[in-house]
């Protein structure tokens, strides 16, 4: 009998060196400046690209192997979900509003991130960074695809899932994440890394994917848990890439520190505003909740973000500029968002509702200093109006923030009874802002933000000219089906009826 001699396997570090660094070459037909024309104009100084290394030391061969495994797991569960009437196993069809918002507002962001990482993977000068960015570009495309695929099963049964691509382009609330990604994609490669790789991935996505997906599990939505956790398994690598890139920039040259700090200030606040949508999803749209937005913020924002900035202090980096304003907003934002979504729910491609009494009690226990004092009375008033058959609709158009594109719905950081509104005159025009953070971002780059596409002005342009019905057609919103209150909706009726059919024989 022959003795098998096992081939000696390369260690992780050697494999990384051979399959990453060794893929690079020195250009001879063109200068490096010609090959990588965008790495200098932002002012970031890099002296040695070799110093950047992926701490997971993931190589392309291993990447394909593990991604294939993740896909197999994902599709096994998606198939089981479809075969087992997964659309009926939800705690309540109210939950679907969170998914619709996710599909319209967040999945397209994954796709945008894919495009952005494909671009910076080409533009960065070092091989380690190029390979890691390529992997992330593929991940982001995968996320968009798996999310759309997982939610497509709900589209067969429920309203509001049918035209997410139109809504990504045309809906007023989706312009918030879209402008965030457009802003990042139209920046230079290093700023893009801080925007998406660092602020969004490291500081903020935990808040989006971890408690929200755990919440999906709690609400019987296996499809979403699966795409959520499958995507999030890549996110650990993305966060690490973001952190490594920021450390790399800071270690390469001390002159990089103030540039990086300004981007951290900007992108923390941009990200915080985008994630406001998630606060309403977590506190109001999940019928069963794992934790409140405040509790998630304490774990992933205060504790984890705090640890990160303590760690970066050795490079002279301080906590982002508007961090304190964010902290003050956390006990208010989900309520302010949901109240806004409710009063404009004729124009949302998902349902909203007045929270039932048990939900109000839960909100009151999670927000003891704010809910009963500022928000319960408003919900009670809305409840009274709805009972009288005069549900409150705000047909006045919202004033939008020129930077984050959210309506001006927030209050002053130190006075929750006072609406927060800032104005700037620039070259003969007046621009509005929801906060000091957004105003400062505009003032640093006014020529960029005066070009922003805003959804409300679009409503008054040709061919819509302010016609609400024409606007609904244009956004593919089906009036009376996709929008309005959950109570009395077709989604509610269907869910009750089908659930009855699924659990009885009559």
């Amino acid at each position: 009998m022959e003795t098998k001699v096992a081939k000696k396997k390369l260690g992780l570090k050697d494999r990384y060196k051979l399959l990453t660094r060794d893929l690079g070459w020195e250009p001879s037909y063109h200068t490096k400046d010609e090959v990588f024309p965008y790495v200098k104009y932002e002012g970031i100084k890099i002296h040695d690209w070799e110093k950047w290394e992926d701490p997971f030391r993931l190589t392309m061969d291993a990447y394909w192997k593990y991604q294939a495994e993740k896909e197999r797991k994902f599709y096994a569960i998606i198939d089981a979900h479809t075969q087992n009437n997964g659309h009926l196993n939800l705690t309540d069809a109210r939950y679907l509003s969170a998914l619709k918002l996710f599909l319209q507002a967040i999945s397209p962001g994954e796709y945008a991130a894919g495009k952005g990482f494909a671009r910076v993977g080409r533009e960065f000068g070092g091989v380690g960074t190029q390979v890691a960015c390529q992997m992330q570009a593929l991940d982001e495309i995968r996320h968009a695809q798996t999310q759309i695929h997982a939610m497509s099963n709900y589209n067969r049964y429920y309203n509001g899932f049918h035209s997410f691509a139109d809504q990504r382009d045309r809906m007023w609330y989706t312009s918030v994440p879209r402008s965030f990604f457009d802003d990042a994609m139209s920046a230079g490669p290093f700023e893009f890394m801080i925007a998406i790789g660092f602020s969004f991935e490291y500081v903020l996505t935990n808040l989006l994917f971890v408690p929200f997906m755990s919440g999906a599990a709690y609400n019987g939505d296996m499809a979403t848990v699966t795409f959520g956790f499958s995507a999030q398994s890549d996110e650990a690598r993305h966060m690490t890439l973001g952190l490594e890139c920021i450390k790399f920039m800071l270690e390469q040259d001390p002159a990089n520190t103030p540039i990086v700090q300004a981007w951290i200030d900007k992108w923390f606040w941009r990200g915080f505003r985008v994630l406001g949508l998630v606060s309403a999803m977590m506190d109001y749209m999940l019928p069963k909740r794992v934790m409140s937005w405040r509790e998630a913020w304490n774990i992933y924002g205060v504790e984890n973000g705090g640890a990160l900035f303590t760690d970066l202090a050795r490079y002279g980096i301080r906590i982002p500029k508007h961090w304190d304003d964010a902290e003050k907003a956390v006990d208010h934002m989900s309520h302010q968002f949901m109240l806004a979504l409710y009063q404009w729910n004729f124009g949302t491609c998902f349902h909203t509702w007045i929270p039932p009494e048990p939900d109000m009690e839960w909100l009151s226990s999670k927000y003891p200093n704010t809910f009963d004092k500022y928000y319960r009375p408003r919900w009670e008033h809305l409840k009274k109006l709805a009972k009288e058959g005069k549900p409150f609709k705000n047909f006045g158009l919202a004033k939008l923030c020129q930077t984050c594109q959210l309506p001006i719905i927030f209050t002053e950081p130190d006075d929750p009874t006072m609406s927060c509104h800032r104005e700037v005159d620039y070259k003969g025009n007046k621009y509005h802002f929801c906060s000091d953070g957004c105003q400062h971002i505009f003032e640093n780059e006014p020529e960029k933000y005066v070009q922003a596409w805003l959804p409300m002005p679009a409503l008054f342009q040709e061919p819509l000219k302010g016609d609400l019905g024409a606007w609904m057609n244009w956004t593919s919103l089906i009036d009376g089906k996709d929008n309005g209150d959950y109570v009395g909706s077709q989604d509610e009726r269907n869910f009750q009826q089908w659930r009855g059919l699924a659990t009885t024989n009559t």
Partner: protein, 89 residues
């Protein structure tokens, strides 16, 4: 001291891995949430290949962790034998 953490999907593959992490990090605190397990530790946490192999009774490549990983926090360093998370401060 700042907290590092690692979160894994709650399933049959990760059960022995979580046990291995607990063995190697007696200071770690395991939090069980719907569909996931989050392990917190003050300042530093180590995931060792050898300990996982003892728990599962087969050879294990640490990069397999990618499949069930949900999130982590801290500076990462991975080689063939261990994955380490730490904060410098």
């Amino acid at each position: 001291m700042s907290t590092v953490f690692i979160a894994l999907q709650a399933n049959e593959e990760t059960r022995p891995i979580i046990e291995a992490i607990q063995l190697d990090n007696p200071q770690a605190v395991v939090e069980r949430q719907p569909a996931m397990v989050k392990i917190n530790a003050p300042g530093r946490l180590i995931v060792r290949k050898a300990t996982i192999e003892e728990q599962i009774g087969r050879a294990y490549d640490l990069q397999e962790l990618q499949i069930n990983l949900i999130t982590l926090s801290g500076n990462v360093d991975e080689d063939d034998e261990a994955l380490t998370l730490h904060w410098n401060a």
